[in-house]
Structure formats: structure tokens, C-alpha cells
């Protein structure tokens, strides 16, 4: 392995945490780490990308509101067709990252390995790790065909650490015409600001599930998370039912969280949920059903009614302050 590329995703504050995690990991896989970024001001993130190991950042430029999938993948595919030879392309498991991965896969005619939570070099190829069956089993896989391998990696699979390098060299890429495939355009952005810490950054996460019985009872989850200075999460079941917005969802299709304490209230612990929270340092579960799978990962399990335990817990915490 000589060269690894990392798709660098940026928000207003700079590269996403997952981008920096991937750069950090890429350093252990190959001597040359390079990033591919897009946006109006890639030069402004060159320092942070460099600190985390990127010697160079290929800049796709401002997309003018177009969704990144096709134009960004098109730029990467053009680089590779022109002779650049990365051994691996690491892509964040995010909304836009998954779009880029799918496009790039079809453009280059290379398969993709998704839901990657571990990467290690073995005999010159990359061995990946994927949790299956709710994380009870770990599957190892690898590519057997021609490179580059395309890997979509889940958040918080690796730590992020700066290496102390200088700013990455910014290489502007020429525009690539992707025709009608790049025609989806953002007309208006809507930011749903939640108060308090972010779900995937909070030290305490309190999540609610179907066992709450009704959308109204989610107020208990919000109140408890507020008292603990944490964030409020949810199972897919109650998001699908429309009780809370998707942004609260913890699990395979939602956020991956690894807080100091995770409190699961009325959540049975379906595979889809466990994958997103099993890495929490401590897990507390409250559920009526002693057989619920959530208890298999709980450090403290209370077999009981959330409608009795939660109000009592909220009272107890309030009386302390």
C-alpha cells in the first residue's frame, strides 16, 4: 500500500470529525495520504487536513448548490482515469459520502465495502471489519479485484489525532462534466438546531423507544437528558412512527454514539439500534421485558415500567440541584 485517498467532508466549522478519523487511520495504512475536498474555500481547511496527515488536497471546487455525489465522484474518477493510482479511497459513511461512493463505484466499475468499522493492512491488501447481526459477530472482508478499493467507513471507528504536519498542498481540479447525473440542486437549506450538546458528541445520551407508549411521553426523555446535560436520542421505531424527527435516531441508519453513559428507555434493542450505541462506555437500560436484547449489553438493567422509573429518576435528579 503506497497511497490512500480520503474523501474530506466539510461543514461550516471545518472538516467533519469523521474526516479527521479517516485521515488518522489512513496514516497507518500507507506512507502517502491525500484528501479530496469540495466547497467554496478548500484552502481554509488545508492546514487541519495537513495536521491530520494529508500531504495534498485535491479541490473539486464550489459545486454551486449541486448535490456532491455525481460531480465529486466524477472528479475522482477523472483523476484515476488520467493515471493517478490510489490503492484505497476511504469515504465517510454520511449522506453525501454514500452518494459519492455509489457513483464512484459505478463510474470505475469497482465494488464498494460499506459499514466498515475496522481497516488493517495484511499482506499488501486491506482487511476490513464489519459488525453483523447487531454487532454480535464481526465479519472480515477484502477486495480481490483491481484497485482502488472503495471503503465506506462508519463514524467513531477510529480515534482522530493530529500528526503535526504542515498545511496540505491544494491542487485545484479542472471542472468535470457529468451531464444530467449532476442535475440535482439544493434550492434551500434548513437547519434544525437542537439545544444542548449534539447527539454524537454528548457525554450522556438518553434515548426513548416504542416502550414510551406515545409521542407525548418523549417529553420524559427530553427532560432527563436536559437534567444530565446530555442529548436526546430515539430508536428507529419511534422515528418511523413520526414521534420525533430523524435527526434523533441512533442506530444503523441513524447516528453512531459512544457516550460515557447511554440510557435506553423502553427500547427493546433491535440489531439496527444496537449497532449505533453498543460502543457506549456504560449502558443503562429500562424495559418491561426481561428478555429484551437491550439487557444483553446493559451494565445496569432495570426491569420495570419507564412511566414509573423515569418520573422518579427526574424527581431524584431535580432534588439534588
Amino acid at each position: 500500500m503506497d497511497r490512500v485517498w480520503v474523501l474530506a467532508e466539510t461543514v461550516e466549522q471545518g472538516p467533519t470529525a469523521l474526516t479527521l478519523e479517516l485521515l488518522t487511520k489512513a496514516r497507518t495504512l500507507a506512507p502517502a495520504v491525500e484528501a479530496v475536498a469540495w466547497g467554496p474555500d478548500t484552502a481554509s481547511i488545508a492546514r487541519v487536513l495537513g495536521e491530520h496527515g494529508a500531504s495534498r488536497v485535491y479541490d473539486v471546487g464550489d459545486l454551486g448548490g449541486r448535490l456532491p455525489g455525481a460531480p465529486v465522484a466524477g472528479a475522482i474518477a477523472a483523476l484515476i482515469r488520467d493515471g493517478e493510482q490510489p490503492d484505497a479511497v476511504l469515504i465517510p459513511a454520511s449522506y453525501d459520502g454514500r452518494d459519492v461512493a455509489g457513483r464512484l463505484s459505478a463510474m470505475l466499475d469497482r465494488p464498494v465495502l460499506t459499514n466498515v468499522t475496522g481497516l488493517a493492512e495484511q499482506d499488501g491488501s486491506v482487511l476490513t471489519e464489519h459488525p453483523v447481526f447487531g454487532g454480535t459477530k464481526i465479519l472480515h472482508a477484502r477486495f480481490t479485484g483491481e484497485g482502488p478499493g472503495i471503503y465506506v467507513v462508519r463514524a467513531k471507528s477510529f480515534a482522530s489525532e493530529p500528526a503535526g504536519g504542515g498545511a496540505a498542498e491544494v491542487v485545484a481540479l479542472p471542472p468535470v462534466d457529468v451531464g444530467p447525473t449532476g442535475a440535482a440542486t439544493i434550492v434551500q437549506r434548513h437547519v434544525e438546531e437542537a439545544s444542548g450538546p449534539k447527539l454524537d458528541e454528548a457525554a450522556v445520551v438518553v434515548s426513548g423507544g416504542r416502550g414510551l407508549g406515545s409521542a407525548e411521553s418523549y417529553a420524559l426523555i427530553e427532560e432527563l437528558s436536559h437534567l444530565l446535560h446530555g442529548a436526546a436520542g430515539a430508536s428507529r421505531a419511534i422515528v418511523d412512527s413520526g414521534w420525533v424527527p430523524y435527526s434523533h435516531q441512533v442506530g444503523q441508519t441513524g447516528k453512531t454514539v459512544k457516550p460515557t453513559v447511554y440510557i435506553a428507555c423502553g427500547i427493546s434493542g433491535a440489531t439496527q439500534h444496537l449497532v449505533g450505541m453498543k460502543g457506549s462506555k456504560n449502558i443503562v437500560a429500562i424495559n418491561k421485558d426481561r428478555e429484551a436484547p437491550i439487557f444483553s449489553v446493559a451494565d445496569l438493567g432495570i426491569v420495570g415500567d419507564v412511566h414509573k422509573v423515569l418520573p422518579a429518576l427526574i424527581e431524584a435528579l431535580k432534588s439534588r440541584t
Binding site: 461543514v11 448535490l67 455525489g69 455525481a70 465522484a73 454520511s94 449522506y95 454514500r98 452518494d99 455509489g102 463505484s105 459505478a106 466499475d109 469497482r110 465494488p111 464498494v112 460499506t114 459499514n115 459488525p131 453483523v132 454480535t136 459477530k137 464481526i138 465479519l139 472480515h140 480481490t144 451531464g179 444530467p180 447525473t181 442535475a183 440542486t185 439544493i186 434550492v187 434551500q188 437549506r189 434548513h190 437547519v191 457525554a203 444530565l228 418511523d240 412512527s241 430523524y246 444503523q252 441508519t253 440510557i263 449502558i283 443503562v284 429500562i286 444483553s296 446493559a298 451494565d299 445496569l300 432495570i302 426491569v303 414509573k308 422509573v309 422518579a312 429518576l313 431524584a316 435528579l317
Partner: protein, 259 residues
């Protein structure tokens, strides 16, 4: 407007999943059902078709052994017809090979709009719809939590990390819908009876002009090396709530110095 919905027929999720001991691929030998994630796409397609005069909904699926039970469920909801790609040589296909087979079938249907779920419940790679869009030469909008169309342009509310984006996209296009985007209807008795006589066109790789060595196990360019038990979490303390549940949690949080 012609709407195509991708429907995956998967092993019943209520039955614990298993991997084949030799190939490590998911065991699909039992009865297959329609993936619940796809019921939202089917419902969305039916609603959008209802908004534009002269519209029709076609289902496209790929499954072994000519399996149609999951498709019948979606036909009973109201889709007009189905295309099933079924060929022994497709067994063990990765997402890209599957996308190639589905793209070949979908191209024949000449759709204005292709709808899929964001990811399947059994494989959850979540890359197929976008691979499909690229192979079809169409734009794509993934993670739609709201969709409307006039038959020419698609308006989508797309989920983002921060909230959602309003996205506009000309047709033909591929859109993936999240669960909960619409409330899927239950098939009526009349619908179930009607579904029995709706046409299902079964296509082989030869029908689609695809070389069998490009897909399936032979065409796969990735392999599963091994499957191991994950490190189990140390057993915790599970107690019945005798009115002291809250106090126990408080003590636990104190011990962790969270409070």
C-alpha cells in the same frame, strides 16, 4: 409518468438471520417476504402516480428461484405490474452486480422516476440506488423525507446532518426514501385478489444481455475472509424494579461521576 419501484424480497426478518457456513453469504433459502423498507417506496410511488394523470407503477426485483411472494404483496398495494430478474448465475452478486442486472431490467421499462429504499433491511449496504442511477445516467436524490412531482421536475426534502435541504431535480431521476416518509397502505382483499392476475415478467441474464461471468460469485471482486464472534460486553447487573429503580440509576451515575 411511469414510476418504477425497486422491491427487495428478503428472508423473514422475524426469523434470526444466518450466514452460509461455506460462502459466508446471507442464507436466503427460506421463504422470502417484501422488505418492509420498500413498502414506503411503493406507497410513495402510488401517491405520486395518483398526482400525475396517466401514470403507472411498475415493480422491479431480483430474487432467486423465480420468487414472487414479496412482489405479490406490493402488487396487492396497487402497482400495475412487475419485472423479476431471476437467474441462478446471480447468486452471490455484490451490490454493483445487482445494480447492473436491475439497471438492465429498468432500462427496458423506460421510467420517468425510479424509487428505492435508502437501504435494505438484510444487506444494508445502501449503495445500490446510487450505483443504479449512475448506470442509468440519471441524477439521484437520496434520503428523501418528502417528495412531490409534476411529472417533469422532482421536489425533494432531503435529510441532512443539520436538518434538511430542499432539492430540485429534473426527471428522469432516482430517489431513495426513508422509512416513515409516508404511511404504507394495507392491501385490501380486493387488491390481494387482483394481484394474483397481475403480470410478472421474469427475465434471465440472457434476456438482459448480461454475461453470467460478470455477476454472481464468479463476478464478485470482494470476499468474506472470516466471521468471528464479537467481543461480548461483560454481563451487567439486571434487577427487577421494586420501586428502587430510579435510586439505583442515580447511584450508578454518581459512581461514574456523571452527576
Amino acid at each position: 409518468m411511469h414510476v418504477v419501484v425497486c422491491v427487495k424480497q428478503i428472508p423473514d426478518p422475524a426469523v434470526p438471520g444466518a450466514l452460509d457456513q461455506v460462502t459466508h453469504t446471507l442464507d436466503r433459502s427460506g421463504k422470502l417476504v417484501m422488505d418492509d423498507s420498500d413498502s414506503y417506496g411503493v406507497e410513495m410511488a402510488l401517491q405520486l402516480a395518483g398526482d400525475v394523470d396517466g401514470s403507472e407503477v411498475t415493480l422491479v426485483s431480483m430474487a432467486p428461484g423465480g420468487e414472487t411472494s414479496g412482489l405479490r404483496t406490493a402488487l396487492a398495494m396497487g402497482a400495475a405490474r412487475a419485472i423479476l430478474v431471476s437467474d441462478d448465475a446471480l447468486s452471490g452478486s455484490d451490490a454493483l452486480s445487482t445494480a447492473k442486472a436491475l439497471a438492465a431490467a429498468i432500462r427496458r421499462a423506460e421510467p420517468d422516476l425510479v424509487i428505492a429504499a435508502t437501504e435494505s433491511t438484510d444487506g444494508y449496504t445502501g449503495t445500490l440506488p446510487v450505483q443504479l442511477a449512475e448506470l442509468l445516467g440519471m441524477p439521484s436524490v437520496t434520503f428523501a423525507k418528502g417528495v412531490s412531482t409534476d411529472g417533469t421536475t422532482l421536489e425533494v426534502d432531503r435529510q441532512t446532518e443539520a436538518g434538511y435541504d430542499e432539492v430540485r431535480c429534473p426527471l428522469p431521476a432516482v430517489v431513495t426514501v426513508t422509512a416513515g416518509v409516508v404511511e404504507p397502505r394495507y392491501p385490501s382483499f380486493k387488491g390481494i385478489m387482483a394481484a394474483k392476475s397481475k403480470p410478472i415478467d421474469v427475465l434471465s441474464l440472457a434476456d438482459l444481455g448480461i454475461d453470467p461471468s460478470d455477476v454472481g460469485v464468479r463476478g464478485a471482486r470482494q470476499e468474506i475472509v472470516d466471521v468471528a464472534d464479537a467481543e461480548a460486553r461483560a454481563g451487567g447487573e439486571i434487577v427487577m424494579d421494586e420501586g428502587d429503580g430510579a435510586a439505583r440509576i442515580v447511584a450508578f451515575l454518581e459512581q461514574l461521576k456523571v452527576i
